[in-house]
């Protein structure tokens, strides 16, 4: 290739490099604000860190004395690898590391530094081939045009059509290709060209695999089903766990059904736990069935007198996620790793069969009875087993779907508990993200009317608790069947009622 050709090629790489560099920066900022929320902070800190790292890279470039071309090509491959895989890596690590921010900034610093090395090295490579004023003007022109292209491509094409993970891999591949093309054009002037070539091909292959596979890492078609950004999604043998974020609102979905919104979950969980537990001054041992998010446990831990809490949740992925992921452990105040808490992964029904312990308070926080397999956890057979696990004078509370939307379902659970010999106290409250929500407190003997609430509650207090048990006529008791394993009456009511409701 003649000198002119090489000049053109190098300038073309400036353009590509600039585009890629800005894309990585945008991807890192976007992933950070998806995952951590508060986009203003994320964008400005990530961009700051990135630019600063570029400065480090530029400064480091002075230490590259010889083999400029070789180093440049190697830097290209490294950027391709780190930059290209950054967003996928961040998504995957998000669920598994406890200090996500450290990882995030480390990755940003590495990419920034490498990108910072690029332009100074290129300037020096082109030094002898162009006049200085030409060199500076051309390199910076292409750099800024590349940046413009990136800033337009990113929101208009990449995010909507490719998704973050795939865009990352795509630009990583471009970045690696620049290195390979430069290597090919200048192979005569680079030492160890063959080994470099192999490196380049390996990097491209890895990125290609990532590109093909990234659809699984985060399903963007799924993201579009939610109004908020999906920041975590995983199919376990038991369910699909999806966590979304919209602004500072974190939401958990199981099989696409909303489990909580961080904006108002305290209302739900305070209402679930305190109307019952605040009335059991002698309660020491608590059992939580379901509720792997640890939010009910957080409420129970407010009582210093509680000595032990056993949480039985089916899905180890759920309890692991909510014991390790920083943002989620902040939400549940580290409930699942508290010393008083004992987490068991198992099926509640089976677990109760083998259980010989008794508990003063039992919380049944299962998903809504939307299928036959969950419906079994609301049957007479289940409540009879739970009854055996209840200490004399203890109480059990059950989340009971919406008495407004699914009125028969709600009263069916009440009827079922009463058929098992429980005295029940149905109550309800408004959880804005859910609507009107119902709970039933069940005990073998009527409970006292004296509540002793712990400090720190935001919703339930001595005044509001009394109002919870008033049911206006549109949610009042209706005649219903008892839910049994052999009739699954509840699932049938629930199905019909929610279908009717969602048709409206």
């Amino acid at each position: 290739m003649n000198d002119r050709g090489i000049r053109l090629l190098l300038l073309a790489s400036v353009f590509t490099i600039a585009t890629c560099g800005l894309i990585y920066e945008l991807i890192a900022s976007t992933v950070a604000s998806y995952l951590l929320g508060d986009s203003v902070t994320q964008f400005s800190t990530i961009i700051g860190a990135y630019l600063f790292a570029m400065g480090i890279g530029s400064w480091l470039s002075r230490y590259v004395e010889k083999d400029l071309l070789r180093v440049f090509i190697q830097v290209e491959f490294l950027i391709a690898l780190f930059g290209g895989s950054a967003s996928a890596t961040l998504f995957v690590l998000f669920a598994h590391v406890s200090s996500f921010r450290v990882v995030l900034y480390a990755i940003v610093l590495v990419i920034g530094t490498l990108v910072g090395l690029e332009i100074p090295l290129l300037l020096r490579i082109l030094e002898g081939r162009l006049q200085f004023k030409d060199l500076i003007s051309k390199v910076f022109t292409f750099d800024y045009i590349g940046a413009l292209l990136a800033s337009l491509l990113f929101p208009l094409v990449l995010v909507p059509y490719c998704g973050l993970a795939r865009s990352g891999f795509l630009f990583g591949i471009l970045n690696g290709a620049v290195g390979l093309v430069a290597l090919w054009a200048l192979r005569g002037q680079v030492r160890g060209a063959r080994a470099l070539q192999i490196q380049g091909i390996v990097v491209l292959a890895l990125l290609g695999a990532g590109f093909a596979y990234s659809e699984r890492i985060i399903t963007w078609s799924e993201a579009s089903a939610y109004n908020e950004e999906v920041i975590f999604a995983k199919s376990t043998p038991y369910q699909r766990i999806t966590i979304t974020r919209g602004g500072d609102d974190l939401r958990l979905y199981l099989n696409n059904n909303l489990q909580f919104s961080s904006r108002d979950e305290y209302r739900y969980h305070e209402a679930l736990v305190h109307p019952g537990l605040a009335r059991l001054p002698n309660a020491r041992r608590v059992l939580v069935l379901g509720g792997g998010d640890g939010l009910a446990v957080r409420e129970i831990l407010r009582y210093p007198r509680i000595e032990s809490i056993t949480l039985v949740d089916l899905d180890p992925s759920m309890t692991r996620l909510f014991s390790t992921q920083e943002m989620l452990t902040r939400l549940n105040a580290g409930a699942l790793t508290a010393p008083r808490v004992h987490v068991v992964n198992g099926d509640a029904f089976t677990w109760l069969k083998d259980n010989r312990e008794v508990f003063d308070f039992i919380v049944a926080d299962f998903p809504d009875p939307s299928n036959f397999s969950i419906g079994k956890l609301y049957t007479t057979a289940f409540y009879q087993r739970a009854r055996h696990a209840l200490a004399p004078g203890g109480a059990m509370v059950i989340q009971c779907t919406s008495p407004f939307v699914a009125r028969q379902s709600f009263w069916c659970i009440d009827e079922t508990l009463r058929a098992c010999g429980f005295v029940t106290e149905p109550y309800h409250t408004l959880v804005p993200s859910f609507g009107e929500w119902g709970f039933i407190l069940a005990s073998l003997h009527p409970l006292t009317e004296e509540w002793n609430f712990p400090g720190g509650l935001r919703f339930i207090d001595a005044k509001s608790v009394a109002d919870l048990s008033h049911f206006p006529p549109d949610m009042g008791r209706v005649p219903v069947q008892v839910n049994r394993l052999n009739n699954q009456a509840l699932v049938r009511y629930f199905d019909a009622e929610w279908a009717r409701y969602s048709q409206q």
């Binding site: 038991y238 029904f349 394993l485 052999n486 009739n487």
Partner: protein, 528 residues
């Protein structure tokens, strides 16, 4: 959503692959034909057994460890006659209520449920209480069932016109006339259910010997169910399909073969009560009635000789000898005893007891039962997976899901029990054909039958075990139940009393259990 599309492509791919494979050669499935009865039956016919090389004594011998034999054992214990030996041909007791077990689940090899027993099934009700299936009674005297033993909802679904629907009565595409006939038929069955004959006995009772002998009712035994339905104007195709299905399910033969009395008995005899379930509830377990068989067999484990084929029962001067082949040692043993409960099927009794009077002309329905291990639950459009899943267009009876009673959510693997009464041709011919088929032949049929309702299920099959019941159950052909044959079968023969559901003409748990209990009572009265 992408995941579903991927799944869809996966299934289409799998079915395409299955079709390709199907074109070339059927897939090979692991598994085996199990059960000793077929080979032993052959040997019994030929009679080539070694002469006894050992003689032992036992107070009483029970021949056959099906439900009737096990019930006899239980009653002998209750009566204090603890010195007995129960000899069973298979490697475990249970008979038609035998069961198996693999890493995924226990599963039945035959009988898999018992409906709520009628009040008159006193022996069975007592057993249920003893085993904790029921726990006392409510104020109205209705037993309170342990709900974990009652078949969980959804119980039945039918694949018809490309969709699964709830229940086994066809509902898709039926006409107003069909509906009228449904109502008419079930109204008649309802009136039979509460009807009493001129002798004040219930029209249809369980045990059936308690039924009214009113000639008008017994006349139903003289014609086939099909003929009677035609007389009544019940020509609706879906109605007849449903009744035919039900008869095949209980008798191994359809409405063209069984008597109208037997057909009506199926629909009109059930008056069982439960404080906490509807009348049509049933009790069941992963291993089906194998659960009951195991409970009954446990107390007499040390007095049981499994893999023992009784081939000769003789008596002289008040002493009885029972010769059996110990299959494992290939040696015969002679047991000297004071009395015998013969709880083997009647056609076997004729081979063992050479001087037994009466003909050996009862008709038996052959069956094939396959237990299919799947790495995924079958699904399909429409009503979700039920306990009993039936395809209208199939000759088989569909399949029962062994893991249905599991309370544990989302099992990924399961065992399904596929039932196939072999009633296309006359029993002798079907029996011969069935016994000639290889494991691969059966697998191909079973997999093809399942594939028709669950395209692609082929690729989820991990194992298929097969049991061929050459003489699965007695067939209540016209005239058998009330024509006098059964009365003869019930007569003791010297010191041998008989207990088997064959003597009822319909093969159900309550009959077998009651027969066994009564035979033990009779024998103790006889030998003192």
């Amino acid at each position: 959503m992408r995941t579903t599309r991927r799944k869809f492509i996966g299934t289409v791919g799998a079915s395409a692959a299955a079709m390709l494979v199907g074109c070339k050669r059927a897939r090979k499935f692991s598994g085996a034909i199990v059960g000793a009865s077929a080979a032993v039956g052959h040997r019994l016919r030929l009679g080539n057994f070694p002469a006894p090389s050992e003689t032992i004594d036992a107070g009483v011998v029970i021949v056959g460890g099906g439900i009737a034999g096990l019930a006899a054992a239980r009653r002998l214990d209750q009566l204090g006659q603890r010195d007995f030996l129960l000899i069973e041909l298979e490697h475990q007791p249970g008979g038609n209520a035998a069961s198996g077990q693999n890493a995924v689940s226990a599963y039945p090899w035959g009988a898999h449920y018992v409906p709520l027993p009628n009040d008159e099934s006193v022996e069975v009700l007592a057993l249920f209480e003893e085993l904790g299936i029921t726990r006392g009674h409510d104020a109205n005297g209705a037993p309170v069932y342990d709900e974990e033993f009652l078949c969980a909802d959804p119980m039945e679904r039918l694949f018809d016109a490309g969709r699964w629907q709830e229940g086994l009565l066809p509902q898709i595409g039926i006409t107003a006339d069909d509906r009228r006939q449904y109502e008419d038929f079930f109204a008649r069955m309802e009136s039979f259910r509460s009807m009493r004959g001129r002798d004040d006995g219930p029209a249809f009772a369980i045990p059936l010997d308690l039924s009214s002998r009113d000639a008008e009712l017994l006349a139903l035994d003289g014609k086939t169910m099909a003929a009677w339905m035609t007389e009544q104007g019940w020509n609706s195709v879906p109605l007849r399909w449903h009744v035919d299905y039900s008869c095949r399910d209980d008798y191994g033969a359809g409405i063209e073969h069984v008597s109208a009395w037997a057909g009506a008995h199926y629909f009109a005899s059930r008056r069982g009560r439960a404080s906490n379930a509807d009348r049509d509830a049933v009790v069941t377990w992963p291993e089906g009635n194998g659960w009951l068989a195991k409970k009954l067999a446990a107390p007499c484990a040390t007095r049981t000789r499994s893999s023992g084929v009784v081939f000769n029962v003789e008596q002289s001067d008040g002493a009885v000898v029972v010769d059996y082949l110990d299959v494992e040692r290939e040696q015969s043993v002679r047991v000297k005893t004071r009395g015998v409960v013969c709880a083997a099927p009647r056609f076997v009794a004729h081979r063992m007891i050479r001087d037994l009077p009466g003909g050996n002309d009862a008709v038996y329905s052959p069956w094939m039962v396959a237990n299919v291990t799947l790495d995924q639950l079958p699904s399909g459009s429409g009503t979700p997976l039920a306990w009993d899943n039936v395809a209208r267009a199939s000759d088989s009876l569909g399949y029962v899901v062994a893991t249905h009673q599991n309370v544990h959510p989302v099992p990924r693997e399961t065992v399904i029990t596929h039932y196939w009464p072999l009633d296309a041709a006359v029993p002798a011919e079907e029996r011969q054909r069935a016994l000639a088929r290889t494991h691969a032949d059966w697998c191909e049929r079973v997999a093809a039958d399942l594939d028709r309702v669950h395209p692609g299920i082929h690729s989820h099959i991990r194992n298929i075990d097969v049991w061929v019941w050459g003489h699965g159950m007695i067939r209540p052909v016209p005239g058998f139940i009330w024509g006098g044959a059964r009365e003869m079968m019930q007569e003791p023969h010297g010191r041998i009393v008989f207990a088997h559901s064959d003597m009822s003409g319909i093969s159900i748990f309550e009959e077998a259990f009651t027969r066994g209990t009564q035979a033990a009572d009779a024998l103790v009265a006889l030998i003192g």
